[in-house]
């Protein structure tokens, strides 16, 4: 079989293709791609620490590319970012220690899988419910670059107002013209870092809503600061896992190559397709991801290896289905837009 750098060409092509699908999803929805990687690697039979470490390295690479898009828009609060990095680093270290302990007693695979089922299932159910409900509230926050965003118009959620009212010194002034207790910021950072280290996710899909809903940071600043922070948390997480040889470049390099291309296609599709039209597919995809991991666990429990294959097919099928729906809708819209322009020219 053909090999590149000692790795099967088929495996490289598989990861590049999977990365492309994930990239389209990330570029289009602005969230969600990265937490499909670790479950997929678990299902493919990689050790939990390799699945988590390689997932973190992939998140790191993806966030570098996404942050470059935001750098000139002034949507990064560096002071908040540095505080988040401090809290997140501690959280990642504790999460990693917890995972290593679970691996030592032989429970890592089960616990990480169950946590994923709950996390993916919970978010999937929430997104699906919001999408079916319709309306302007799309049930999530976007990572997309929003050049027209006005920081002064931001509404501060009730919970954030409550948290801002706790004046435990020292108080920090943040972009958007408000103050929050240093300890509240560190608590949010630690909790999201814990999840990052434990599950191998960037934490962005939890931290960014947390910055907005809990701390009251305006959405554009929450997005930019979150991405800035993910670069560091992903990098630190990757480094910590790489120290024990748990980052596999034969996974990360092709995944990143595919996802960077897919993210451009997905981002281009956002200007063509209504996100609400597709959002229900996204929620369903997350639910299918949760089901896939659950099926794998059942397969392990009752010694039925065929369920591993079923699980992998469900994960890949879900990613393929949704990214296909996005691509199809984008091409259809492009052609509809082009028709009025081409018809007169045909005369």
């Amino acid at each position: 079989m053909m090999e590149l750098f000692g790795v099967s060409a088929t495996l490289l092509a598989t990861f590049t293709g999977f990365g492309l699908l994930i990239g389209i999803l990330f570029g289009f929805f602005g969230m969600g791609g990265s937490f499909l990687v670790t479950p997929a690697l678990l299902v493919m039979g990689y050790e939990p620490n390799v699945a988590v470490g390689s997932g973190l390295a992939f998140v790191f690479g993806t966030s570098v590319i996404a942050t470059l898009k935001h750098r000139d828009l002034g949507q990064v609060d560096y002071k908040l970012g540095v505080l988040m990095i401090a809290g997140t680093t501690a959280g990642i270290e504790v999460g990693k220690l917890g995972l290593e302990y679970l691996q030592h007693i032989g429970l890592a695979g089960s616990v990480v899988s169950v946590a994923y089922v709950l996390l993916l299932g919970g978010i999937g159910a929430f997104v699906t419910r919001e999408a079916l409900k319709g309306g302007d509230d799309d049930g999530g926050l976007e990572h997309d670059v929003d050049e027209d965003a006005d920081l002064e118009d931001a509404d501060i959620p009730d919970i954030a107002q409550k948290i801002q009212s706790y004046r435990i010194p020292p108080m920090m002034s943040l972009r958007g013209g408000f103050k929050v207790s240093l300890w509240m910021i560190l608590a949010v950072a630690f909790a999201t870092g814990l999840l990052s280290g434990f599950l191998g996710v960037g934490g962005g899909f939890i931290r960014m809503p947390a910055l907005f809903y809990l701390i009251g940071v305006p959405v554009p600043v929450a997005v930019g600061t979150d991405l800035f922070e993910i670069v560091f948390s992903g990098g630190i997480g990757s480094f910590l896992y790489a120290q024990s040889g748990a980052v596999d470049l034969s996974i990360v390099v092709p995944l990143l190559a595919g996802s960077a291309l897919g993210a451009r296609l997905g981002a281009a599709a956002t200007s063509l397709v209504e996100e609400d039209d597709i959002k229900v597919y996204f929620g369903v995809m997350l639910l299918l991801g949760a089901i896939a991991v659950a099926i794998r666990e059942v397969g392990n429990a009752i010694q039925m290896p065929v369920l591993d294959t079923v699980s992998l097919v469900i994960i890949l099928g879900a990613a393929l289905l949704v990214s296909g729906a996005v691509s199809y809708s984008a091409v259809r819209e492009l052609r509809e837009e082009a028709e009025p322009a081409t018809s007169p020219a045909a005369d």
Binding site: F239, A242, L256, A260, R335
Partner: protein
């Protein structure tokens, strides 16, 4: 992969993270260039205004805005 297995501990970890960072930067610049160069042609193919081979050999008609790709 890439022969870095001989390194140990922190050195290997730093090289691994450096490789991912370098790849991300290269991909950002590389795909950005490709998008500028091939994007408009790819778009015309998707719109059904141009065949794939014509796009590859730059035989597509000029656009309605006077041939300005973007």
């Amino acid at each position: 992969m890439f022969g870095i297995e001989t390194l140990s501990g922190n050195a290997q970890a730093a090289v691994l993270v450096g490789i991912v960072l370098l790849e991300a930067l290269v991909l950002y610049v590389g795909y950005g260039g490709l998008e500028t160069w091939l994007g408009p042609r790819f778009r015309r193919v998707l719109e059904g205004r141009c065949a794939v081979l014509d796009a590859l050999f730059m035989r597509c008609q000029a656009t309605e805005n006077g041939g300005v790709d973007r």
